[in-house]
């Protein structure tokens, strides 16, 4: 009887003590932990190249452990010469404004029929040039610069080996800073353990 009472008292004491100490200890562990981010980049056009590099460089700037898995068309973002272009065709959200001329001219959103955008050769090159000029006018960092920033900030860039094989690429087409060529099976645990996981 006395033993039972002692055990019960001890259990209560331990429980009270844990209630008292555990939240602070867990908070301490949480505060000391380095946040992490995993990004899966699946697109290689100019407009879709910005989000993974901006998010990765910002997270890395804040001291987060950041990894980006480039797969499918996202693999193109690892090429030595970035081939990023943008097409307004099938992209109705893209504003069609001119990045030159007086302000009233620049404010005009030109309605461009799909028939014209599809029929005129080189229209994508024009659209790409105009978008790059728009960004340059506003001082926005280029994709090349953002990638350099990411590498400088130790963002881990991982390529999908399957995509390399399927599209017939060779590894020397990519920047030497690619840390590994892996499959989804490798990256899923990284994504699982990260605090923030983004699919772009």
């Amino acid at each position: 009887m006395n033993t039972e009472a002692t055990n019960t008292d001890m259990d209560k004491w331990l429980s009270d003590k844990l209630d008292e100490m555990l939240p602070a200890k867990l908070q301490e562990i949480e505060d000391a932990k380095t946040p992490s981010m995993a990004i899966i980049a699946t697109k290689g056009t100019l407009d879709w190249a910005y989000p993974p590099f901006i998010l990765a460089s910002t997270a890395a700037a804040l001291g987060w452990d950041t990894s980006v898995f480039f797969t499918f068309y996202g693999l193109l973002l690892l090429k030595k010469e970035l081939p990023c272009e943008v097409s307004p065709l099938g992209n109705p959200a893209m504003p069609m404004k001119m990045p030159f001329g007086p302000q009233w001219f620049q404010n005009i959103n030109w309605p461009m029929p799909n028939l014209i955008m599809a029929a005129i050769p080189g229209f994508e090159k024009v659209a790409t040039g105009l978008m790059k000029k728009t960004f340059k006018n506003k001082g926005v960092a280029t994709i090349e610069e953002l990638r350099s920033l990411c590498l400088e900030a130790d963002v881990k860039m991982v390529a999908c080996q399957m995509t390399v094989d399927v599209f017939g690429f060779s590894r020397d087409e990519f920047i030497p800073e690619v840390s590994d060529y892996v499959g989804a099976t490798y990256f899923l645990p990284v994504a699982q353990k990260s605090d923030v996981c983004l699919f772009i």
């Binding site: 506003k138 610069e145 953002l146 130790d154």
Partner: protein, 149 residues
């Protein structure tokens, strides 16, 4: 210094910059080497300027990452802060990363409400090169992160 095209290093001779040719060299900002190029027009403008000019390379973290060089005059009695690197007599360079709660791109030419970005290792984000020009009565600056400006 009289327009020597490739002077490098921190210790610059304390002479009036010549405005006969452009200046190219290296400085260190937050310990990181930065290639710098100053056009002839900018050197001329510097020689005419009464107060030291500070070229601040601002890296703006927001929905997009924006780079711009902000120019200001330093009119205080003492030298500019330790964060500023002396480039030439009368010219200093510095780097600052900022962020803002508001994402108004229209403020890119004005002064958006910015605050210092809590970067863990600012040195990693210091640019590789800086170019300074003076055109139509205004200072123009550009910087970048590639090795070849």
């Amino acid at each position: 210094m009289h327009g020597h095209p490739h002077q490098a290093g921190l210790a610059l001779p304390d002479t009036v910059a010549s405005h006969k040719s452009a200046y190219s060299g290296h400085i260190k900002v937050l310990g990181k080497p930065v290639r710098i190029h100053i056009t002839r027009a900018a050197l001329r403008a510097l020689s005419r300027h009464g107060h030291p000019v500070i070229a601040e390379m601002e890296l703006y973290f927001s929905c997009l990452i924006r780079k711009q060089v902000l120019f200001s005059e330093f009119t205080g009695p003492a030298a500019p802060s330790e964060d500023c690197t002396r480039v030439l007599p009368g010219l200093y360079a510095s780097f600052r990363a900022v962020t803002t709660k508001h994402c108004r791109i229209i403020d890119t030419d004005g002064k958006p409400p910015v605050e210092a970005m809590p970067i863990r290792e600012p040195r990693r984000f210091v640019p590789d090169w800086l170019r300074i020009d003076f055109r139509r009565g205004k200072w123009k600056g550009e910087y970048g992160f590639s090795r070849n400006p």
